[in-house]
């Protein structure tokens, strides 16, 4: 059992910098959690609070209902994989892996068993006698993990653990890491700036901004049902349309955007209120409109008229920039194999799927400051 509970945790540095603000959430036993957010959002501070290298200014952290504030780093029994691995350069791989159990006063025999088992499960057995300087980044990574295994920690903290690896090895390690954590039944908290990595590797993600928890949920939750403007903006890519609710029926609301009315998921925003509609760029559908059919409005199709102003290849996808009637510019990402070729100045209509659009009430401080990182 290794459940972690944050209870109103606040960390203030130098008496004024609020790195983490009133953080409360629970990580369940055996869960793989990722912390994501823009740099300076407090994710590394959160990790360090867990490790105990810093203490909360306010609030408490519990491991399995044990409060951590009086338990020092060395007694928390945490496994930590550092961004630059922190493999001790003056010890060989064997000694590095044996470090945890030997400073905890385990017997020689225990240490040998633990180290050998850890080295074996990371395929490092043949490198045990080598020194870190003669190895490369993937092996340091493995050593760092073996060191965690040998110290029998139930909680694994990872600070940008794959940052030093190149793209291809990184992908392999994501799978490897997740399998390892699940096999050893550890609870893992992983800090990364790489969204794709976080979405691949974790059971749930914690999105943070300005020291606060923005949303916590499974990858699909965050991608398809973001609960606020920031999450829809930060996870994946979205465009925002601003409108006014003119009708709110049972399932769908009707929203006036510019001079057009579109139908979207009713998310409980009252009639007459301003609304922000967030739509993933991959979910826009575009159709060409002939020159005669200039209005482009087709209530059945639930669409907005616009003009293509730029198109660009992105490998498997194509990016089409479109200026809508209300002068707002959106980007649609469509498959590169889409048979229709869009050119600049083409009149198009942008079809909106009412079920994949998310709507939020217009933030008091304005959209720009709501998205400010």
């Amino acid at each position: 059992m290794s459940e972690i509970r944050f209870q109103h945790v606040t960390k203030i540095f130098h008496r004024k910098v609020e790195a983490v603000k009133d953080l409360s959430f629970i990580i369940e036993d055996g869960e793989y959690i990722s912390l994501i957010g823009p740099s300076g959002c407090g994710k590394t501070t959160t990790l360090r609070l867990l490790a105990g290298t810093i203490l909360p200014t306010k609030g408490r952290i519990f491991f399995d209902n044990t409060a951590m504030e009086n338990i020092s780093i060395q007694d928390r029994n945490i496994g930590f994989v550092f961004q630059h691995f922190a493999i001790f350069p003056h010890m060989n791989i064997w000694e590095n892996v044996a470090y945890g159990p030997s400073v905890r006063g385990r017997s020689k025999k225990d240490i040998e068993n633990l180290v050998e088992k850890a080295l074996k499960s990371l395929q490092l057995s043949d490198k045990a006698e080598l020194y870190p300087t003669s190895l490369s980044a993937p092996d340091w990574q493995k050593t760092a993990l073996a060191r965690v295994l040998a110290s029998e920690s139930r909680i694994l903290l990872l600070d940008e653990p794959l940052g030093a690896l190149d793209q291809k090895i990184r992908k392999e390690f994501q799978v490897f890491l997740r399998n390892l954590v699940k096999k050893e039944r550890m609870t893992a908290i992983h800090v990364t700036h790489d969204q794709a990595e976080a979405l691949t590797i974790s059971d749930r993600l914690v999105v943070m901004n300005k020291g606060q928890l923005v949303q916590i949920g499974a990858p699909t939750d965050l991608l398809f049902t973001p609960r606020n403007i920031f999450t829809s903006f930060f996870v994946g890519e979205s465009d925002f349309l601003v409108g006014v609710v003119v009708d709110d029926r049972e399932k769908y609301s009707e929203v006036k955007v510019g001079n057009n009315i579109i139908k979207i998921n009713n998310m409980g925003i009252e009639r007459g209120k301003r609304v922000v509609i967030a739509i993933r760029r991959e979910f826009f559908q575009i159709e060409k409109v002939s020159a005669e059919d200039k209005t482009g409005q087709d209530s059945k199709l639930n669409s907005l008229p616009g003009v293509v102003i730029q198109h660009q290849f992105l490998g498997l996808l194509k990016r089409i920039k479109i200026k809508l009637e209300n002068q707002q510019i959106i980007e649609a990402k469509i498959h590169a194999k889409n048979p229709i070729l869009f050119k600049e100045h083409d009149n198009v209509r942008v079809i909106i799927d009412p079920d994949s659009a998310r709507s939020f009430s217009y933030p008091k401080e304005g959209i720009v400051s709501a998205l400010e990182m």
């Binding site: 490790a51 105990g52 290298t53 020092s72 780093i73 060395q74 007694d75 928390r76 029994n77 945490i78 496994g79 930590f80 550092f82 961004q83 630059h84 922190a86 001790f88 350069p89 003056h90 470090y99 945890g100 030997s102 400073v103 905890r104 006063g105 017997s107 020689k108 025999k109 060191r147 110290s151």
Partner: protein, 576 residues
């Protein structure tokens, strides 16, 4: 099998006991006591004497006033001598520093940027005057410039090129202060990002302009630090100055001679003034180092392009090297040549009694016994001092390096530097004053007092590089160690110490050489015992030059060996 098992059991028991002990030592209260102890020792050994001196000056102001300003016989003659000596010291230090910069900066540049055969040798030679005891250096320089054995032989003169006095003091001081400037600047030039220079090169700036506008402003702080060190070293030097000054007395020499005459109150006052001047210099540099800009932001494209031409660069390098060899290297080592000239007879009269062999090994006053005795004393003191200083300086360096409160850290950092800039004779006098009959009355001048004096002026030489060593250890290793279950003290033993090893060895050698070569404080605190640099001054004053040359050569050889070891150790730590 059972024996094997017993062995394992014992190992486990020992390890657990050690870990438990370390864990106890890592307790907050224990660590706090350790910190307090560290700072207390620092205050007692290093700051205490200076503060006590200050206190005594205030308390006994009347007596000092009488002896300094209104002596019944001398009037304010004492004060006049004092002012004169301080003026002379400042003047000499200023000239010496300017010369150091003119020659030192180009040589630092050569050592940092050029690759050539023999670079390592030149590098060692440049550092050497720093390791050789100044009294040996001063004696060698005196022989070269001031007697008819040295340079004047080239033009067949019966007298030296210059006699004892200001000129000779300057020549001697340049030799041992110059490495401070070169070394500090060389280090920083080597750490500069070459891309910045390449960038300005692509923008069309000639090398001289780049050096002046891009690189030098970045080494400014280090240059200032090196300069101030050179200045204060010149201001406070005793050993060499005693030999080369003649009647022209600099302030530290006056301290020594008044001390010999037991004029305690006046000596105290002079020591105090010297300390104040040094402290003012140190703090003003600390405060203004960042604010001072280099002059001339203007560019003179044609002129500077000319200065950047290969020809000019080559000439400049050549001249700097020539100046280095003529003014530093050859005079500094001339004593060895002199020793061979005077090996068994005078080269002028052929008198064997004037030769080294007779004076050291055969003369009735048994100089060999004196030399051996002094050498043993020197080595004993240096060894004990090194051990004590390392033990008390390491925790201080750790404390400063890990300190989170920036203001307090800066303050302690400055305090630690104090003994670096204070003339050692003034520091030695403060120690005599505090521990001796005028103060706590615990010690009289002798072996123990010498050890305390040496610990106090070597302290900074030890703490300073160790802070650097601690700072260079990435914090992630400490964190990793504690995350995996090690207490703070265990972490220190298993992780920090291995990183620190070379830094510790380097600091120990620095401490050892400084202790071996010091003169000023030693003369004041020595009582009847002699260290070898002091014995050299005695021999010089007794005009037994060949014997002095013998002692000087021994000192040079010892320091040279230590220097080579030091370089080997520091180079290895860099490669790792």
């Amino acid at each position: 099998m059972t024996v094997e098992k017993q062995k394992l059991d014992i190992e486990l028991k020992l390890r657990r006991t050690l870990l438990a002990a370390e864990s106890w030592l890592s307790k907050k209260t224990v660590l706090s006591i350790g910190k307090i102890l560290t700072v207390t020792i620092f205050i007692l050994i290093v700051l205490g004497p200076i503060l006590y001196l200050l206190l005594q000056i205030i308390v006994n102001w009347k007596e000092i006033q009488t002896s300094v300003f209104n002596d019944p016989i001398l009037g304010n003659e004492t004060f006049t001598i004092m002012l004169k000596s301080i003026g002379l010291s400042l003047k000499i230090a200023a000239i010496v520093t300017v010369f150091d910069i003119i020659v030192g900066v180009p040589i630092a540049w050569i050592l940092a940027r050029y690759n050539f055969k023999g670079k390592n040798i030149l590098d060692t030679l440049v550092d050497m005057p720093m390791a050789v005891p100044t009294s040996a250096l001063g004696f060698s320089i005196y022989l070269f410039w001031g007697t008819n054995n040295g340079i004047s032989r080239l033009y067949n003169s019966q007298v030296g090129f210059t006699s004892q006095g200001t000129m000779l003091i300057i020549l001697a001081h340049v030799a041992f202060t110059f490495p401070y400037v070169t070394r500090s600047i060389k280090g920083i030039i080597m750490d500069l990002d070459l891309n910045l220079e390449k960038a300005s090169r692509t923008l069309g700036a000639p090398p001289f302009t780049i050096a002046r506008m891009i690189s030098l402003p970045m080494v400014k702080e280090g240059m200032l630090a090196g300069t101030i060190l050179a200045f204060t070293r010149s201001l406070g030097e005793t050993g060499a100055t005693l030999i080369v000054s003649g009647v022209y007395q600099t302030a530290p020499v006056v301290i020594v001679s008044w001390m010999k005459g037991l004029k305690i109150p006046t000596t105290a006052f002079l020591a105090f003034i010297l300390i104040i001047i040094s402290l003012l210099l140190l703090t003003s540099v600390r405060i203004f180092a960042r604010k001072v800009g280099l002059p001339w932001n203007k560019v003179f494209p044609r002129f500077e392009r000319k200065l950047s031409s290969k020809k000019v660069a080559r000439t400049r390098n050549g001249v700097s090297l020539l100046l280095f060899f003529v003014f530093v290297f050859i005079p500094a080592l001339f004593v060895i040549l002199f020793l061979f000239q005077w090996w068994n007879k005078s080269p002028f009269s052929g008198n064997p009694q004037a030769g080294m062999i007779y004076q050291v090994f055969q003369s009735p006053d048994r100089k060999l016994a004196d030399i051996t005795q002094a050498l043993v004393t020197s080595l004993e003191i240096a060894l004990i001092v090194t051990i004590i200083t390392i033990i008390i300086a390491t925790p201080m360096a750790l404390l400063i390096s890990k300190m989170k409160n920036k203001k307090l850290k800066g303050f302690l950092d400055t305090l630690v530097d104090i003994p670096l800039v204070i003339p050692s004779s003034a520091l030695g006098f403060s120690i005599f004053f505090l521990w001796g009959t005028n103060g706590m009355h615990i010690l009289s001048p002798g072996f123990m007092m010498m050890i305390i004096a040496h610990v106090s002026f070597t302290y900074a030489y030890c703490v300073r590089p160790l802070i650097g060593s601690f700072d260079a250890i990435p914090t992630m290793y400490d964190e990793a160690s504690s995350v995996f279950g090690a207490s703070k003290v265990t972490t220190f033993r298993t992780v920090t110490m291995p990183f620190l090893r070379n830094g510790l060895i380097a600091a120990a050698i620095m401490t050892f050489t400084r202790s071996m070569s010091e003169t000023g404080a030693t003369i004041i605190c020595m009582g009847t015992e002699r260290t070898i640099p002091v014995l050299l001054v005695d021999f010089f004053e007794a005009s037994t030059f060949p014997a002095a040359a013998f002692a000087a050569t021994i000192l040079i050889v010892i320091s040279f060996i230590l220097l080579i070891v030091l370089r080997y150790v520091t180079r290895r730590s860099k490669n790792e």
